[in-house]
Protein backbone atom coordinates (compact mmCIF):
# COMPACT_ATOMS: atom_id res chain seq x y z
CA UNK A 1 0.00 0.00 0.00
CA UNK A 2 1.28 3.47 -0.85
CA UNK A 3 2.39 5.44 2.16
CA UNK A 4 2.40 9.14 2.85
CA UNK A 5 5.21 10.54 4.97
CA UNK A 6 3.73 13.17 7.26
CA UNK A 7 5.57 15.58 9.53
CA UNK A 8 3.31 17.01 12.21
CA UNK A 9 4.10 19.86 14.61
CA UNK A 10 4.15 18.75 18.26
CA UNK A 11 4.39 21.13 21.20
CA UNK A 12 3.36 24.74 21.52
CA UNK A 13 5.40 27.80 20.45
CA UNK A 14 8.43 25.62 21.21
CA UNK A 15 8.28 22.16 19.75
CA UNK A 16 9.39 19.99 16.86
CA UNK A 17 8.00 18.05 13.92
CA UNK A 18 7.21 14.39 14.48
CA UNK A 19 7.14 11.97 11.54
CA UNK A 20 4.37 9.48 10.77
CA UNK A 21 3.55 7.15 7.92
CA UNK A 22 -0.07 7.10 6.82
CA UNK A 23 -1.65 4.84 4.17
CA UNK A 24 -2.77 6.69 1.03
CA UNK A 25 -6.47 6.49 0.22
CA UNK A 26 -8.47 7.71 -2.74
CA UNK A 27 -9.93 11.22 -2.24
CA UNK A 28 -8.11 11.52 1.08
CA UNK A 29 -8.13 14.97 2.68
CA UNK A 30 -5.43 16.45 4.90
CA UNK A 31 -7.91 16.28 7.77
CA UNK A 32 -8.38 12.55 7.08
CA UNK A 33 -4.61 12.13 7.42
CA UNK A 34 -4.47 13.98 10.73
CA UNK A 35 -7.48 12.04 12.01
CA UNK A 36 -5.80 8.76 11.03
CA UNK A 37 -2.71 9.73 13.02
CA UNK A 38 -4.75 10.69 16.07
CA UNK A 39 -6.96 7.57 15.98
CA UNK A 40 -4.37 4.96 15.04
CA UNK A 41 -0.85 6.20 15.65
CA UNK A 42 -0.75 8.73 18.50
CA UNK A 43 -3.87 9.49 20.50
CA UNK A 44 -2.24 12.46 22.20
CA UNK A 45 -2.21 14.59 19.03
CA UNK A 46 -4.30 17.72 19.50
CA UNK A 47 -6.12 19.24 16.51
CA UNK A 48 -9.45 20.88 15.85
CA UNK A 49 -12.31 20.30 13.44
CA UNK A 50 -16.09 20.17 13.57
CA UNK A 51 -18.10 20.05 10.34
CA UNK A 52 -15.64 18.29 7.95
CA UNK A 53 -17.46 19.93 5.03
CA UNK A 54 -16.03 23.44 4.82
CA UNK A 55 -18.64 25.25 6.85
CA UNK A 56 -17.40 25.78 10.39
CA UNK A 57 -13.95 27.26 9.78
CA UNK A 58 -12.25 25.37 12.62
CA UNK A 59 -9.81 23.10 10.76
CA UNK A 60 -7.33 25.51 9.19
CA UNK A 61 -3.64 24.58 9.46
CA UNK A 62 -0.39 25.27 7.65
CA UNK A 63 0.04 22.53 5.04
CA UNK A 64 3.39 22.38 3.23
CA UNK A 65 4.00 25.98 4.21
CA UNK A 66 0.64 27.44 3.19
CA UNK A 67 -2.46 28.13 5.24
CA UNK A 68 -5.38 25.95 4.13
CA UNK A 69 -8.68 24.52 5.30
CA UNK A 70 -7.73 20.90 5.84
CA UNK A 71 -11.15 19.24 5.56
CA UNK A 72 -11.51 20.25 1.93
CA UNK A 73 -7.90 20.05 0.85
CA UNK A 74 -7.19 16.83 -0.98
CA UNK A 75 -3.82 15.25 -0.31
CA UNK A 76 -3.39 14.78 -4.07
CA UNK A 77 -3.37 18.53 -4.62
CA UNK A 78 -0.80 19.40 -1.95
CA UNK A 79 1.51 16.42 -1.30
CA UNK A 80 5.01 16.84 -2.74
CA UNK A 81 6.81 13.53 -3.35
CA UNK A 82 4.33 11.77 -1.06
CA UNK A 83 5.21 14.03 1.85
CA UNK A 84 3.15 16.46 3.88
CA UNK A 85 4.20 18.89 6.55
CA UNK A 86 1.37 20.02 8.80
CA UNK A 87 1.83 22.85 11.29
CA UNK A 88 -0.57 25.09 13.23
CA UNK A 89 -2.06 28.12 11.50
CA UNK A 90 0.37 31.06 11.44
CA UNK A 91 0.14 34.45 13.19
CA UNK A 92 -1.76 33.00 16.16
CA UNK A 93 -0.57 31.68 19.53
CA UNK A 94 -0.24 27.90 19.55
CA UNK A 95 -2.07 26.13 22.37
CA UNK A 96 -0.87 22.62 21.59
CA UNK A 97 0.20 20.72 18.47
CA UNK A 98 -2.13 21.87 15.67
CA UNK A 99 -4.51 23.91 17.84
CA UNK A 100 -4.15 27.68 17.80
CA UNK A 101 -5.77 30.23 20.05
CA UNK A 102 -8.15 32.18 17.79
CA UNK A 103 -8.84 34.84 20.46
CA UNK A 104 -6.69 37.61 18.93
CA UNK A 105 -8.31 36.95 15.55
CA UNK A 106 -11.88 37.31 16.81
CA UNK A 107 -11.03 40.15 19.20
CA UNK A 108 -10.10 42.07 16.09
CA UNK A 109 -13.55 41.39 14.59
CA UNK A 110 -14.99 43.03 17.69
CA UNK A 111 -12.56 45.96 17.43
CA UNK A 112 -13.58 46.43 13.80
CA UNK A 113 -17.19 46.58 15.02
CA UNK A 114 -18.05 43.35 13.28
CA UNK A 115 -21.37 43.09 15.18
CA UNK A 116 -24.57 43.85 13.31
CA UNK A 117 -26.42 46.66 15.01
CA UNK A 118 -29.86 47.23 13.64
CA UNK A 119 -32.18 50.14 14.30
CA UNK A 120 -35.51 48.34 13.84
CA UNK A 121 -37.52 46.49 16.43
CA UNK A 122 -39.79 43.48 16.07
CA UNK A 123 -42.69 45.87 15.53
CA UNK A 124 -41.20 47.30 12.36
CA UNK A 125 -41.60 45.79 8.93
CA UNK A 126 -38.72 43.94 7.25
CA UNK A 127 -36.18 46.00 5.35
CA UNK A 128 -36.78 45.38 1.67
CA UNK A 129 -33.52 45.20 -0.25
CA UNK A 130 -33.63 44.26 -3.92
CA UNK A 131 -31.43 41.30 -4.92
CA UNK A 132 -29.68 43.44 -7.53
CA UNK A 133 -29.09 46.38 -5.19
CA UNK A 134 -25.44 47.49 -5.61
CA UNK A 135 -24.67 47.51 -1.88
CA UNK A 136 -26.32 44.16 -1.40
CA UNK A 137 -24.09 42.68 -4.09
CA UNK A 138 -21.07 43.89 -2.14
CA UNK A 139 -22.46 42.21 0.97
CA UNK A 140 -23.14 39.00 -0.96
CA UNK A 141 -19.52 38.93 -2.17
CA UNK A 142 -18.13 38.94 1.36
CA UNK A 143 -20.77 37.41 3.60
CA UNK A 144 -19.92 33.71 3.19
CA UNK A 145 -16.81 34.04 5.37
CA UNK A 146 -16.51 31.04 7.70
CA UNK A 147 -13.99 32.69 10.03
CA UNK A 148 -11.30 30.13 9.32
CA UNK A 149 -8.37 32.53 9.73
CA UNK A 150 -6.60 31.36 6.55
CA UNK A 151 -6.45 34.91 5.17
CA UNK A 152 -5.11 36.19 8.49
CA UNK A 153 -2.32 33.62 8.43
CA UNK A 154 -1.57 34.52 4.80
CA UNK A 155 -1.30 38.27 5.48
CA UNK A 156 2.33 39.39 5.91
CA UNK A 157 1.18 42.68 7.34
CA UNK A 158 -0.14 40.87 10.43
CA UNK A 159 3.39 39.68 11.20
CA UNK A 160 4.82 43.19 10.83
CA UNK A 161 2.04 45.06 12.63
CA UNK A 162 0.62 42.94 15.42
CA UNK A 163 -2.29 45.35 15.88
CA UNK A 164 -3.39 45.25 12.24
CA UNK A 165 -7.07 44.28 12.16
CA UNK A 166 -6.46 41.87 9.31
CA UNK A 167 -8.39 40.83 6.21
CA UNK A 168 -11.24 38.85 7.80
CA UNK A 169 -12.24 41.50 10.36
CA UNK A 170 -12.07 44.23 7.71
CA UNK A 171 -14.07 42.11 5.26
CA UNK A 172 -16.69 41.63 7.96
CA UNK A 173 -16.80 45.38 8.65
CA UNK A 174 -17.22 46.03 4.93
CA UNK A 175 -20.26 43.74 4.71
CA UNK A 176 -21.82 45.81 7.51
CA UNK A 177 -20.84 49.17 5.99
CA UNK A 178 -22.75 48.02 2.90
CA UNK A 179 -25.72 46.70 4.89
CA UNK A 180 -28.59 49.18 4.56
CA UNK A 181 -30.13 47.87 7.81
CA UNK A 182 -27.10 48.57 9.96
CA UNK A 183 -27.11 51.74 12.05
CA UNK A 184 -23.54 51.86 13.43
CA UNK A 185 -21.83 53.21 10.39
CA UNK A 186 -19.90 56.40 10.91
CA UNK A 187 -18.62 54.85 14.16
CA UNK A 188 -17.65 51.62 12.39
CA UNK A 189 -15.73 53.55 9.77
CA UNK A 190 -13.84 55.31 12.55
CA UNK A 191 -13.05 51.92 14.08
CA UNK A 192 -11.56 50.53 10.87
CA UNK A 193 -9.83 53.72 9.72
CA UNK A 194 -7.24 54.19 12.48
CA UNK A 195 -3.55 53.27 12.66
CA UNK A 196 -4.10 49.54 12.52
CA UNK A 197 -6.96 49.64 10.04
CA UNK A 198 -7.66 49.45 6.34
CA UNK A 199 -5.19 52.12 5.19
CA UNK A 200 -2.29 49.91 6.28
CA UNK A 201 -3.23 47.19 3.75
CA UNK A 202 -0.65 46.72 0.97
CA UNK A 203 -3.27 45.56 -1.55
CA UNK A 204 -1.09 42.62 -2.60
CA UNK A 205 -3.95 40.16 -2.22
CA UNK A 206 -2.23 37.37 -0.28
CA UNK A 207 -5.48 37.01 1.64
CA UNK A 208 -7.67 36.86 -1.47
CA UNK A 209 -5.33 34.36 -3.10
CA UNK A 210 -5.69 31.95 -0.18
CA UNK A 211 -9.30 32.39 0.99
CA UNK A 212 -10.96 28.98 0.55
CA UNK A 213 -14.35 30.65 0.09
CA UNK A 214 -13.00 32.73 -2.81
CA UNK A 215 -13.76 35.94 -0.97
CA UNK A 216 -11.60 38.96 -1.76
CA UNK A 217 -10.97 40.79 1.51
CA UNK A 218 -8.68 43.07 -0.50
CA UNK A 219 -11.67 44.33 -2.48
CA UNK A 220 -13.60 44.97 0.72
CA UNK A 221 -10.63 46.82 2.21
CA UNK A 222 -10.44 49.00 -0.90
CA UNK A 223 -14.16 49.66 -0.44
CA UNK A 224 -13.55 50.73 3.16
CA UNK A 225 -10.86 53.17 2.03
CA UNK A 226 -13.28 54.70 -0.47
CA UNK A 227 -16.05 54.86 2.12
CA UNK A 228 -13.71 56.57 4.59
CA UNK A 229 -12.61 59.10 1.97
CA UNK A 230 -16.25 59.88 1.17
CA UNK A 231 -17.10 60.21 4.86
CA UNK A 232 -14.12 62.53 5.38
CA UNK A 233 -15.12 64.77 2.49
CA UNK A 234 -18.69 64.91 3.82
CA UNK A 235 -17.37 65.85 7.27
CA UNK A 236 -18.70 62.67 8.94
CA UNK A 237 -15.43 61.38 10.43
Amino acid sequence: MALLRVKVWRGAEQGAFQSFEVPRQASQTVLDVITHIQRHLDGSLAYRFACRVGMCGSCAMTVNGRPRWTCRTHVDTVAEDDTLEVAPLGHLPVIRDLVTDMTPFFDKWARARGQFSGARSRHDDFARIAPDDADRRQVDAGIECIGCGVCYAACDLVSWSADYLGPAALNRAWTLVCDARDAANPARLRAVGGDAGCHACHTQMGCSERCPKKISPTAGIAGLKRALARALLKGEL
Binding site: G193, D195, G197, H199, K225, L228, A229, L232, L237
Partner: protein
Amino acid sequence: MSARSETLLWLAQRASAAVLAFCVVVHLATIIVAVQGGLSAAEILARTRGSVLGLVFYTTFVLAAAVHAPIGLRATLGEWLGWRGAARDAVLLLFALALAVLGLRAVAGVFGGAA
Protein backbone atom coordinates in the same frame (compact mmCIF):
# COMPACT_ATOMS: atom_id res chain seq x y z
CA MET B 1 -3.75 58.31 14.72
CA SER B 2 -7.43 58.93 14.25
CA ALA B 3 -9.40 57.63 11.28
CA ARG B 4 -9.67 61.23 10.13
CA SER B 5 -5.90 61.79 9.97
CA GLU B 6 -5.22 58.38 8.46
CA THR B 7 -7.79 59.01 5.75
CA LEU B 8 -6.33 62.46 5.04
CA LEU B 9 -2.86 60.95 4.70
CA TRP B 10 -4.24 58.25 2.42
CA LEU B 11 -5.91 60.83 0.18
CA ALA B 12 -2.71 62.91 0.12
CA GLN B 13 -0.74 59.79 -0.79
CA ARG B 14 -3.12 58.91 -3.62
CA ALA B 15 -3.31 62.45 -5.00
CA SER B 16 0.46 62.98 -4.84
CA ALA B 17 0.99 59.60 -6.54
CA ALA B 18 -1.18 60.70 -9.45
CA VAL B 19 0.74 63.97 -9.78
CA LEU B 20 4.07 62.13 -9.55
CA ALA B 21 3.08 59.60 -12.21
CA PHE B 22 2.39 62.45 -14.62
CA CYS B 23 5.48 64.45 -13.62
CA VAL B 24 7.89 61.51 -13.87
CA VAL B 25 6.70 60.68 -17.40
CA VAL B 26 7.03 64.30 -18.56
CA HIS B 27 10.41 64.64 -16.81
CA LEU B 28 11.87 61.49 -18.40
CA ALA B 29 10.49 62.33 -21.83
CA THR B 30 11.96 65.83 -21.60
CA ILE B 31 15.39 64.50 -20.65
CA ILE B 32 15.41 61.94 -23.43
CA VAL B 33 14.37 64.47 -26.05
CA ALA B 34 16.64 67.22 -24.72
CA VAL B 35 19.90 65.28 -24.49
CA GLN B 36 19.79 63.89 -28.00
CA GLY B 37 23.09 64.96 -29.50
CA GLY B 38 24.57 65.79 -26.08
CA LEU B 39 24.14 68.76 -23.77
CA SER B 40 26.44 70.64 -21.42
CA ALA B 41 25.37 72.08 -18.06
CA ALA B 42 25.72 75.58 -19.47
CA GLU B 43 23.46 74.73 -22.40
CA ILE B 44 20.84 73.28 -20.04
CA LEU B 45 20.85 76.36 -17.83
CA ALA B 46 20.64 78.62 -20.85
CA ARG B 47 17.42 76.91 -21.80
CA THR B 48 15.86 76.59 -18.36
CA ARG B 49 16.62 79.93 -16.69
CA GLY B 50 13.54 82.13 -16.68
CA SER B 51 11.18 79.40 -17.92
CA VAL B 52 7.90 79.98 -16.10
CA LEU B 53 6.47 76.71 -17.35
CA GLY B 54 9.52 74.83 -16.04
CA LEU B 55 9.33 76.64 -12.72
CA VAL B 56 5.66 75.77 -12.20
CA PHE B 57 6.09 72.17 -13.36
CA TYR B 58 9.10 71.38 -11.18
CA THR B 59 7.68 73.21 -8.17
CA THR B 60 4.62 70.93 -8.43
CA PHE B 61 6.91 67.92 -8.86
CA VAL B 62 8.95 68.78 -5.77
CA LEU B 63 5.91 69.43 -3.59
CA ALA B 64 4.27 66.15 -4.66
CA ALA B 65 7.47 64.26 -3.80
CA ALA B 66 7.70 66.03 -0.44
CA VAL B 67 4.16 64.89 0.37
CA HIS B 68 4.47 61.38 -1.06
CA ALA B 69 7.81 60.11 0.21
CA PRO B 70 7.33 60.73 3.95
CA ILE B 71 3.89 59.07 3.97
CA GLY B 72 5.34 55.96 2.38
CA LEU B 73 8.30 56.03 4.74
CA ARG B 74 5.89 56.28 7.66
CA ALA B 75 4.47 52.83 6.90
CA THR B 76 7.92 51.38 6.21
CA LEU B 77 9.32 52.65 9.52
CA GLY B 78 6.30 51.26 11.38
CA GLU B 79 6.37 47.85 9.75
CA TRP B 80 10.11 47.22 9.43
CA LEU B 81 11.50 48.96 12.48
CA GLY B 82 8.42 48.97 14.68
CA TRP B 83 8.77 52.76 14.99
CA ARG B 84 5.32 54.33 15.37
CA GLY B 85 3.81 57.25 17.22
CA ALA B 86 4.28 60.99 17.52
CA ALA B 87 8.11 61.05 17.47
CA ARG B 88 8.20 59.22 14.15
CA ASP B 89 5.59 61.54 12.69
CA ALA B 90 7.48 64.64 13.88
CA VAL B 91 10.73 63.40 12.30
CA LEU B 92 8.87 62.68 9.06
CA LEU B 93 7.36 66.15 9.06
CA LEU B 94 10.90 67.55 9.25
CA PHE B 95 11.91 65.19 6.45
CA ALA B 96 9.02 66.48 4.33
CA LEU B 97 10.07 70.08 4.98
CA ALA B 98 13.68 69.27 4.13
CA LEU B 99 12.64 67.65 0.84
CA ALA B 100 10.51 70.66 -0.02
CA VAL B 101 13.17 73.24 0.89
CA LEU B 102 16.06 71.46 -0.85
CA GLY B 103 13.91 70.67 -3.88
CA LEU B 104 12.58 74.20 -4.23
CA ARG B 105 16.09 75.57 -3.85
CA ALA B 106 17.21 73.41 -6.75
CA VAL B 107 14.20 74.49 -8.82
CA ALA B 108 14.99 78.14 -8.10
CA GLY B 109 18.61 77.54 -9.14
CA VAL B 110 17.72 75.91 -12.46
CA PHE B 111 14.62 77.83 -13.48
CA GLY B 112 14.92 81.12 -11.59
CA GLY B 113 16.83 84.18 -12.73
CA ALA B 114 16.92 85.97 -16.05
CA ALA B 115 16.95 84.15 -19.33
